[in-house]
């Protein structure tokens, strides 16, 4: 295979027109030949910057070296030392701002396609039945992990590898957290990828108990005092969806992105055979510009709608990954930028009939450093839609913080946890992921889960 050393080996994707009508995965990934070819682009830097860019510090040049040699099983074990979910991360990490953002190759030309290589290695391991290596000796201590999303799975996997007895408590009926209810099938296949990664974590000895809402079914104090857990990790995720607070938001046909995506992803309502209904709108407005907004928009598109992203700033400020925006555009999502809804209108039966919007322009930078959008006077206009999906982020869920004595929250109601090892204000209780930071990314949550596993290990050794 010949290649331009300045460019990534291109990755095969489903054609945009075809994939806009199905829920199959968009990106098809590398095959072994492509992966080995891409791996040769890595110059194996001594002081590898990519590792510093990775929140879980995977030995990136190390695993790529093994791919280069064609020893994929060895590459997988190197990744597994640091990451419990490589097939997930290879798909959903924002590599452009992390490992690949730091790659020396990127200075002149394109960085090494680290994400696609990680994905290839993880997929190969799964297809060839290679599992991560478990603990050598057991430690006689029990840890409870709350939430089976990226933070919880990572923390549980790491602790199990250290020899601890770990039980994950999951509130929903299926483990995976945001990987299952939030990220759509076409970006992250549930059965083939997520379920298999969870199987790998279980194969390390981790138990998962579903249908347990910690804070309701059982409290953290009860877990520690009555059920004998020596330490607890809270990775309960982000929480309650935000709404704009504009008139008409309770009209029929207005959904939070969380609801819309949960129906489609967790409850599989995109599938005609599933029992949970989802509204199949004809013209949908998705308000917001993050990754969740892109996921909701691309889901609505696949359910047959004309879809508009309505975002109050300009393209440059879109918080979504460039790749997601690019894919969305390819598939035919229409971007109404510098546009902000002011009211949702409903017909005589209470169903959404349109949204009133104003046009915006960018003014001076605000606290976030982004230019503040300012309303253009007299720019009001009407957009006819039958469905509105609000994708404005979330605010923390009070279920755990309000039922756990001695667990402090900050002014945003996020759990206070010390940065290096995730220790909270309650002895033996650690936390990480969105429950601490507010909505962020899968890999940051994994980084926090990893740090907390080290913190918990340290704590249990000394107690």
């Amino acid at each position: 295979m010949q290649t331009d050393v300045l460019k990534k080996v291109p990755v095969r994707e489903q054609d945009a027109k075809v994939r806009a009508t199905n829920f199959e995965e968009v990106c098809l990934g590398y095959d072994k030949e492509e992966a080995m070819c891409e791996a040769t682009r890595c110059i194996n830097c001594k002081n590898a910057q990519c590792i510093k860019g990775c929140p879980v510090a995977i030995n990136i040049p190390g695993f790529i070296e093994k791919v280069k040699e064609g020893d994929i099983a060895a590459a997988y074990q190197i990744i597994s030392e640091a990451s419990a979910l490589p097939a997930v991360c290879g798909r959903v990490c924002p590599q452009e701002s992390q490992c690949e953002g730091k790659c020396i190759r990127g200075i002149k030309g394109e960085p090494v396609s680290i994400g696609k290589l990680e994905r290839f290695v993880a997929d190969w391991a799964r297809e060839n039945g290679v599992k991560p290596e478990g603990a050598v000796e057991k430690k006689n201590k029990k840890v409870a992990v709350i939430g089976s999303g990226p933070a919880g799975l990572t923390c549980a996997g790491d602790l199990a590898k250290m020899g601890y007895e770990v039980t994950i408590f999951e509130a929903l009926h299926e483990p995976g957290g945001v990987l299952v209810y939030g990220i759509p099938e076409f970006r992250l296949p549930k059965q083939d990828v997520v379920a298999k990664e969870i199987e790998n974590v279980k194969s390390l000895g981790v138990k998962i108990e579903t249908n347990v809402v910690v804070g309701k079914s059982v409290t953290i104090d009860e877990l520690m005092e009555e059920e004998g857990f020596d330490a607890v990790f809270i990775g309960s995720g982000a929480g309650l969806p935000k709404f704009m607070g504009i008139p008409g938001e309770q009209a029929l046909g207005v959904f939070s992105a969380n609801e819309y995506l949960t129906r489609s992803n967790l409850m599989k309502s995109f599938d005609e055979n599933a029992n949970t209904p989802i509204m199949r709108g004809k013209k949908v407005a998705v308000v917001g510009g993050g990754n969740v907004a892109m996921d909701a928009a691309r889901t609505a598109l696949r359910l047959g709608a004309e879809v508009h992203i309505v975002y109050r700033r300009s393209e440059e400020e879109l918080p979504a990954r460039v790749e997601e925006v690019h894919h969305a555009k390819e598939e035919g999502i229409i971007f109404n930028l510098l546009t902000n809804p002011t009211e949702i209108l409903a017909d005589e039966n209470g169903w959404v009939s349109g949204i009133k919007c104003v046009r915006m322009e960018l003014g001076e930078p605000d606290a976030s450093g982004r230019r503040r959008p300012v309303v253009i006077e007299g720019s009001e206009f009407l957009m006819e839609v039958d469905t509105v999906i609000m994708s404005l982020g979330t605010s923390p869920n009070p279920l755990i913080s309000s039922t756990t004595k001695g667990l402090e929250v900050n002014k945003y109601k996020c759990i206070v946890a010390e940065e290096d090892f995730g220790a909270t204000t309650k002895k033996g209780v650690y936390a990480g992921g969105d429950a601490v930071t507010g909505a962020a990314t899968v890999i940051l949550a994994m980084g926090a889960g990893k740090a907390a596993a080290r913190g918990i290990d340290e704590y249990l050794r000394n107690s």
Binding site: A171, L172, H173, Y181, T210, N211, V212, V213, K216, S217, V218, G237, G239, L240, P241, F243, G245, E249, Q250, L252, G253, F255, S256, N258, E259, T262, R263, M267, K268, N273, A274, N275, T276, P277, M279, G350, N397, P398, L399
Partner: protein, 292 residues
């Protein structure tokens, strides 16, 4: 899996089941609810907790057949299992946190409509176990749809049964009984708890408002996860958006926007579903029951 230890039909289309769910039974309180799923492809269905046995580790649920999912559920028998059974969800009734001494001085009126009798029962029972007798009005459309009369009689101070068609007990709507008790039977109350179809709760609140009687209602909107994540169960209370699953399900009834809440319940109702109900309930079905 969550095994069903008992399944029986209480009245036409109304079923009771005892289900093994030790974690839920260990921690549930009056006012809370559960979510169940029948099988892999099943919907998450929020249901009322009607009773619990902490020692046996069981929860009693009562449900009415209102659509495809509950139609399937009614065929479950003793020995069958639910695939998922999660809870307790929502906040316990406010009185659970009140000082017993101050509760003892309160005159409490419960108003239960139809299936609402089931969630009212554990509240009245909880009070009864603490030596507090509350008055209870139970309303049903007709005698055959009345449920749990004996159980309720055993824990209520006074029980007033009424049927819309006068086929049993008093005659007329629950609102009429409230008026009769307060205006002609010399009763007075400090607080009212009303649980039933949205339309009933709305009219109970309009009635109690006249007497400035504080009224708590328990809402049952559309829900997906039941833990605060999806926001489907939102409603407006006193001008603010609240989530029934984490802020409720009980709210100050005089502040709930019932008309909006009733509209939102129709979100996924199909023409087929409405036709099904009409066929089942015939002319007595006028809409607004919260199930149609």
């Amino acid at each position: 899996m969550y095994r069903i230890l008992k399944a029986e039909e209480l009245a036409a289309n109304i079923y009771l089941m005892d289900v093994e769910a030790p974690r839920v039974a260990h921690s549930c309180q009056p006012g809370q609810f559960v979510i169940v799923r029948m099988d892999e492809a099943g919907e998450r269905i929020p249901l009322t907790i009607c009773d619990y046995d902490r020692e046996k580790g069981t929860i009693t649920i009562v449900f009415q057949v209102v659509g495809a999912a509950t139609e399937m559920m009614r065929h479950l028998k003793t020995g069958d299992s639910f695939h998922d059974f999660v809870g307790p969800l929502g906040c316990p009734s406010e009185f659970v946190h009140e000082e017993e001494a101050s509760l003892k001085n309160k005159r409490i009126l419960f108003v239960a409509g139809g299936l609402g009798t089931a969630p009212v029962y554990p509240q009245v029972k909880w009070l009864h176990e603490r030596g507090i007798d509350a008055d209870v009005i139970v309303g049903a459309k007709t005698k055959d749809l009345l449920i749990m009369e004996e159980e309720m009689k055993a824990v209520a101070g006074n029980l007033y049964v009424t049927t819309d068609d006068g086929s049993y007990g008093r005659s007329g709507m629950v609102t009429k009984v409230i008026e009769d008790l307060i205006e002609s039977e010399g009763k007075s109350y400090d607080v009212c708890v009303a649980i039933g179809p949205m339309i009933m709760m709305k009219f109970v609140c309009l009635t109690t408002k006249k007497y400035e009687l504080p009224t708590i209602v328990s809402v049952n909107p559309i829900m997906v996860d039941g833990t605060g994540m999806c926001g489907a169960c939102r409603l407006t209370v006193d001008g603010e958006v609240k989530f029934a699953c984490v802020d409720g399900p009980e709210f100050d009834g005089h502040k709930v926007d019932f008309d909006q809440a009733m509209k939102r319940q129709q979100m996924y109702k199909t023409k087929e579903g409405r036709d099904y109900l009409k066929a089942k309930e015939g002319d007595t079905h006028h809409g607004g029951c919260g199930n149609c």
